[in-house]
């Protein structure tokens, strides 16, 4: 229902401009089929560097290398070209189309706003070129060095100054008085706080202009200092917010390609879509910027009690561009096309991608989950899997007999066993009993839950049993309908999620920490709000993370979410972006109603059952793509569900009180 509205931006001037912007780039890259090195007459190559590379995805192995050139045209025009080498792609998946997509040709420095230099102590130096339009190119990695010369050359031909805010940012053609710039930068903290000043939103990567000029001057929420921001125009009246923009834009620069790809996609799609949002905006007399949350975030019905700092990344538009619409689940016929004659999955990445976008038909979950969870190898044959199933069944029975053979006399002297057994028995009868599969007295599936969990507590005695495990096992047993298979799938899941249940909760804490870092990256006003309200421990997201949103959606939706998460397609940690996506959906209410920790916890708990999974997955995808490497950098290595970093013991030794 929201879909149609979401697509509907055709009457929006900003959006039109962005489309135009996108089209220009498309034209630039597509119109040039030759990668000839000949330059127009009167042009002089003033800088040339080979092995300048972009990484189109988060994977360092996927790269496109090319030649970067600065060309002086006439007396004052400096042009930048970056042409990928032909036929040297690191990866077959990077098609000719990709190469064309990324090609940078004929970019004039009159259109460049800034260049940021990154000189990590480890790894390659790279630069990010940000256009005045707000569009940023992907980072250009200088495999053979040369960043310094590049900047020196630029400086010879255009006016280049270091940003007062950041020594690694070089502003192009910024003729502002440096003193003024410095003074105005002092206003920055006010701009980013959750005070009443609307943070001048950064341009979206679509190339839209920063929205200050669109903001309703009469919205009454602006403090006096905000007048500083009002002059933001194309005439480069200085605006400190621009420096914020630069930083935020850089976060998105990795994904510029998505902007381009998707812009062209939107061209096609928009022809078929009805357009209503812009009209609705007019009807409500709302400016595009201020209305965006209200329109998209239907959940936010309550009136805002205090003005809220706007979302710095204009989340709704982000999702529109980068979150792909959900697809129908993978069905039987299509599934067959992924398998070779002996039952191997031929292209596991393509399969994972397919499932990421649509999930799996329920009757296919049984075979597919075993792959996703890592119980079966993608390249195993049907025969191998049949064999493994038999072997594993025997192995399971062996472990199971260990606790089954504990006699009553032995149990008397085996406190830990008695405690675990008691706890598991108490919990399985409190797990999903409203689902018909588990309902009723003396339900055999409830007994299976108990047997599997108890066997697991022997298989992994260090970890044992912890509440939440039954929630994770329940859908697995429901899908696998087989005791041993369920056990091994659960084992595979616990390889990743086991640390959630460590006694010291280290797995939970590392995820909560990563979540706070991601929110800081993707919604700094919200982060600041949590900080000011003593909510940075993110305990209000505890249940989400502990059991992978099991209690937040109805059963069928949980299974859909899980299989999407388990693809690890965009990130192993998509679940954290799901958290961010949900928080961002409700950010205006959280901040507007000035929720304190208690209220927030209660509010978040109350969202259970009311979250639109498809919309959130789309948001999460967009956020994950946008955060790119910077997002990944927020998540410490080994954070669940990443496989634990090997350091001898899989689980910290549990002390004696463990249950």
């Amino acid at each position: 229902m929201q879909e149609a509205e979401l697509h509907d931006l055709s009457d929006d001037a900003d959006y039109a401009a962005s489309q135009l912007q996108g089209s220009v780039y498309m034209t630039r890259s597509d119109s040039t089929k030759t990668s000839s090195t000949t330059e127009p007459e009167g042009a002089e190559v003033v800088y040339l560097k080979d092995n300048v590379t972009i990484h189109p995805t988060q994977f360092a192995s996927e790269r496109i290398s090319g030649r970067l050139k600065l060309i002086k045209q006439g007396s004052s025009l400096l042009i930048m070209n970056w042409i990928p080498y032909k036929g040297q792609n690191s990866n077959a998946r990077l098609s000719e189309k990709d190469r064309n997509l990324y090609t940078i040709r004929g970019v004039s420095f009159t259109d460049v706003r800034s260049i940021r230099r990154h000189t990590p102590t480890l790894g390659w130096q790279y630069i990010i070129v940000v256009m005045s339009s707000g569009l940023a190119f992907p980072p250009l990695y200088f495999y053979s060095g040369g960043v310094k010369e590049f900047l020196a050359t630029v400086k010879q031909h255009v006016f280049l100054v270091r940003s007062a805010e950041d020594a690694n940012v070089f502003l192009v053609n910024d003729f502002e008085n440096p003193l003024q710039r410095t003074l105005s930068s002092l206003e920055l903290p006010r701009a980013v706080s959750v005070a009443n000043v609307p943070l001048p939103s950064t341009s979206t990567p679509l190339g839209e202009l920063p929205p200050n000029e669109n903001q309703d001057a009469g919205d009454g929420s602006r403090s006096s200092s905000s007048s500083l921001y009002n002059g933001r125009t194309r005439q480069k009246v200085h605006d400190p917010a621009r420096d914020i923009s630069i930083q935020v834009l850089e976060k998105f620069s990795l994904v510029t390609r998505f902007a381009r790809e998707t812009t062209s996609q939107l061209f096609r799609e928009s022809l078929n879509n009805g357009f209503a949002v812009a009209n609705e905006r007019r009807a409500h007399g709302l400016s595009p910027v201020n209305s965006s949350h209200k329109l998209v975030h239907e959940a936010e019905k309550a009136p805002e009690e205090v003005p809220v700092a706007p979302d710095p990344i204009e989340f709704d538009k982000l999702t529109l561009v980068w979150g792909q619409p959900r697809q129908a689940p993978l069905g039987l016929e299509e599934w067959a096309t992924y398998l070779d004659s002996e039952g191997r999955v031929m292209d596991s990445k393509a399969l994972r991608k397919r499932i990421f976008y649509g999930g799996v038909d329920h009757h296919l979950r049984k075979p597919v989950w075993a792959f996703l969870l890592g119980y079966h190898a993608y390249d195993s044959t049907d025969a191998e899997r049949d064999y493994l199933k038999r072997v594993k069944k025997t192995e399971y029975e062996t472990i199971k007999r260990q606790w089954q053979s504990v006699s009553a006399e032995q149990a008397k002297r085996f406190t830990k066993f008695r405690e675990r057994k008691g706890l598991i028995e108490k919990d399985v009868v409190r797990t999903d009993r409203s689902i018909s599969f588990y309902e009723g007295d003396d339900n055999v599936n409830v007994h299976l839950l108990r047997d599997i969990l108890l066997t697991y507590s022997f298989y992994n005695f260090d970890l044992g049993y912890c509440q939440g495990m039954s929630d994770l096992l329940s859908p697995i047993l429901f899908v696998m309908e087989d005791e041993s298979e369920s056990f091994w799938c659960f084992v595979a899941l616990m390889e990743r999620l086991g640390p959630n249940f460590n006694r010291d909760q280290n797995g939970m804490h590392s995820q909560l920490f990563a979540l706070s870092k991601l929110v800081e990256l993707l919604d700094s006003p919200l982060h600041n709000y949590f900080k000011q309200n003593d909510c940075l421990n993110y305990f209000f997201c505890f249940r989400w993370l502990l059991i992978q949103f099991k209690r937040e959606f109805e059963y069928g939706r949980v299974m859909r979410l899980w299989e999407v998460l388990w693809t690890h397609y965009l990130s192993e940690h998509l679940h954290l972006y799901v958290c961010v996506a949900i928080l961002k959906r409700y950010r205006n209410r959280i901040m507007g109603e000035q929720m304190d920790f208690d209220t927030l916890l209660k509010f978040i708990n109350g969202l259970s059952g009311g979250i639109d999974l498809d919309a959130i997955l789309r948001d999460a995808e967009a956020l994950c793509i946008c955060a790119g490497e910077n997002g990944a950098a927020c998540i410490p290595p080994g954070t669940p569900p990443s496989l634990p970093i090997e350091n001898g013991l899989l689980y910290a030794q549990q002390d004696d009180e463990v249950l």
């Binding site: 405690e419 706890l423 108490k426 919990d427 009868v429 409190r430 797990t431 999903d432 009993r433 409203s434 912890c466 509440q467 939440g468 039954s470 929630d471 249940f501 460590n502 006694r503 909760q505 939970m508 421990n537 305990f539 505890f542 249940r543 502990l546 059991i547 209690r551 920790f597 208690d598 916890l601 209660k602 708990n605 109350g606 009180e657 463990v658 249950l659």
Partner: protein, 211 residues
């Protein structure tokens, strides 16, 4: 609905002692033997009347397993009352009371009213902790004590209300600065801001104590 005061309660105690059932019995007046185990925290609320004043109880029902203690501790903040629950049929849940109490003392405000509840008193035939032991423990640690049954509803209402009455009396006695919400008390519309507004002290409407 408006209230004179809002009290935050927290229910603590070992897993499976019946915390969620006590809450459900109090808020919904029903016993539901099959409900999902609590992960993190659940919430309930109910209006009661004390001294003819409407008081809203906001009740936090916590997960009992040891592993979650660290997160449970963050819920104590700003609680005016705590229901510390054990299961009279399981000795170990009684044995763990001291450690629960220690947590509560350490992480809650010093004036938090704590009610000790020996739950499942309908299962007298399986009793593993005598009433006297419960009374003794409460006396030693300055707690109010009741045995109750979430199943039969015996003393459930009383336990929650007696706790509220005790908190209310503390307000009347000026123990709390009710403008400071860290005590777990919010003054609502029609509330009396400060102890000076108290006229005739707390008149408990709670039922009698379980014996």
């Amino acid at each position: 609905m408006s209230y004179a005061y809002l009290f935050k309660y927290i229910i603590i105690g070992d897993t499976g002692v019946g915390k969620s059932c006590l809450l459900l019995q109090f808020t919904d007046k029903r016993f539901q033997p099959v409900h999902d185990l609590t992960i993190g925290v659940e919430f309930g609320a109910r209006m009661i009347t004390i001294d003819s004043k409407p008081i809203k109880l906001q009740i936090w029902d916590t997960a009992g397993q040891e592993s979650f203690r660290s997160i449970t501790r963050s819920y104590y903040r700003g609680a005016a009352g705590a229901l510390l629950v054990y299961d009279i049929t399981r000795r170990e849940t009684f044995n763990h009371l001291a450690s629960w109490l220690e947590d509560a003392r350490q992480h809650a405000n010093a004036n938090m009213t704590i009610m000790l509840i020996g739950n499942k008193c309908d299962l007298a035939h399986r009793r593993a902790v005598s009433t006297e032991e419960g009374e003794q423990f409460a006396k030693e640690h300055g707690l109010i004590f009741m045995e109750a049954s979430a199943k039969t509803a015996q003393n459930v209402e009383e336990a929650f209300i007696k706790t509220a009455a005790t908190i209310y009396k503390k307000i009347q006695d000026g123990v709390f600065d009710v403008s400071n919400e860290s005590y777990g008390i919010k003054v609502g519309y029609g509330g009396i801001p400060g102890p000076s507004g108290g006229r005739d002290g707390a008149t408990s409407q709670s039922g009698g104590c379980c014996s």
